[in-house]
Symmetry: C2
Subunit: 298 residues, 2 copies
């Protein structure tokens, strides 16, 4: 990693790329005007796009063709967007602000927010299943298996439910880790794996290495989120600062203290980079991403 | 159709079969106890199972093996169940009663209802994508395409959104039909098509015939729903009678009057049966189902 950083340029090109892919997909949703507007509002024009970047990064690390990773990149961001829309609802986290603007149920209404989230989830699977010139049906099916397992009751939504139930009650470090491995970790892992599958050449060893990498950055990502909730301000977060504490949530910071949380995040970053020891310089982007995730300010 | 009716026995065996399939799938969701309980509550032990029955009926009409239709039957019922859970939410239809018992957000809470619906949708795609010994990957992928297109913004959810927006405002027959072709018709059509695909032998002509059949019974089903909302009582409906009128909804009955609505439903039943003219006696179950749909009392 002595060469100049490729990351800023890569992030920017991924962000532009995913915006175009998502925008084209949402344009095709034309049954209901307000539904399409809410879907576009929820997933266009904002966000860090960490998950699509991981898809593209894993594709690159296996010498893949970025265009082959577009469906997977779109799918994970559609899922992420839907989960934010539903999480923000009054019955769940009751957040009025997201990515610096009104959340979907405030900008539209609750019914439209629920339905837009539902439609974004369907669209994620539709995109992954679209007829493909570059992927074998078996590869697409494998991608759908990975995504469906990651986002359902044994993945993201299961974690979200544990989070709802845990709010306000004391929680151990082990329980917190189990929660986050599902709530945020499962989709981050799926992003890396879908990116690897999009390159069509991944070996089992590479998939195992990528999975370990993904698990480490997934946890590091969440710890950094908890840190930022304490250290950043509302303007850079795009959501209310201090909302974890306000909601009486157990976080890495509340359990470990700020300093230990920061050192755990750094440790995980190191482990993520070590997991890629068998990979060549094509994986430098993933290595840089691991560092980026715990140094980001929002 | 001079032979004795096969339908009662078939309905019962399909209902038993789908209960076992769904129950096994939900048992595997073990990350969060309350989530799994809510999912089970939403989709086990009740319901007419019309959509799985259509899947199995279409499979039978093409001499398929019923076991090959289990994933598709489960997937359409999981989608149907999730849509009921979300539709019942206070922000959408605000119904406290479903299938004769408290709706999910009343029996659990709103957060769990939103998340259980989300997880049921993911599970539908997971089930269709499960490794299969009997289906080619291309067939499974085709099934996922059909389902994803049917349930998203250009299908069921799009129709639901039109329905939310249309509530309380005057609506034409044409608009009502467009709405229902999406809201209930799309998933009914998908059920028949997925059943056909599960038999692996469907020709394009057969798929076109089945699609016409499905479109006719889909509309007939909705008209019958509107009729029952006026003519049946709360106990047999398992949901509040008269809720359409109460919610000031435009229905076939409000637009056409009861008698004309009934004759339109019969006409559609006839068209559905005619669409199967090229099929042999294996399609008798589908023919009987068309009649059943407009003669059902709940």
């Amino acid at each position: 990693m002595d060469s100049p950083s490729q990351l800023p340029g890569f992030l920017e090109s991924c962000q532009r790329r995913i915006e175009a892919v998502l925008s084209a997909e949402i344009e095709q949703c034309d049954a209901s005007y307000s539904l399409r507007e809410a879907m576009a509002y929820a997933c266009l024009g904002g966000g860090k796009r960490i998950r699509p970047v991981l898809v593209y990064g894993a594709n690159r690390a296996l010498d893949g063709n970025l265009a082959d990773a577009d469906p997977a990149a779109a799918a994970v961001e559609l899922i992420h967007s839907y989960s934010l829309v539903h999480d923000d609802l009054p019955a769940i986290d009751d957040d009025d602000l997201r990515r610096g603007k009104a959340s979907v149920h405030k900008a539209f209404d609750e019914a439209v927010a629920i339905l837009a989230g539902d439609a974004l989830q369907s669209l994620a699977f539709a995109v992954l299943a679209e007829p493909s010139r570059s992927h074998a049906a078996a590869t697409q099916l494998r991608q759908i298996q990975v995504l469906a397992a990651a986002v359902g009751a044994n993945g993201m939504v299961g974690g979200q439910c544990l989070d709802c139930c845990a709010t306000g009650s004391e929680s151990s470090l082990q329980a917190l880790e189990a929660l986050h491995r599902l709530k945020t970790g499962a989709l981050i892992r799926a992003s890396v794996l879908l990116g690897a599958h999009s390159a069509e050449s991944a070996t089992d060893q590479q998939l195992a290495d990528f999975q370990l990498y993904a698990d480490c950055i997934g946890l590091a990502f969440q710890i950094q989120d908890d840190i930022l909730d304490v250290t950043a301000d509302t303007a850079s977060l795009g959501k209310p600062q201090g909302s974890d504490q306000h909601n009486d949530k157990t976080t890495y910071v509340s359990l470990l203290g700020l300093e230990q949380a920061q050192s755990k995040a750094s440790e995980l970053t190191g482990q993520a980079i070590s997991a890629l020891a068998r990979c060549g310089s094509e994986a430098d982007l993933l290595r840089e991403l691991a560092t980026f995730i715990t140094s980001r300010a929002r």
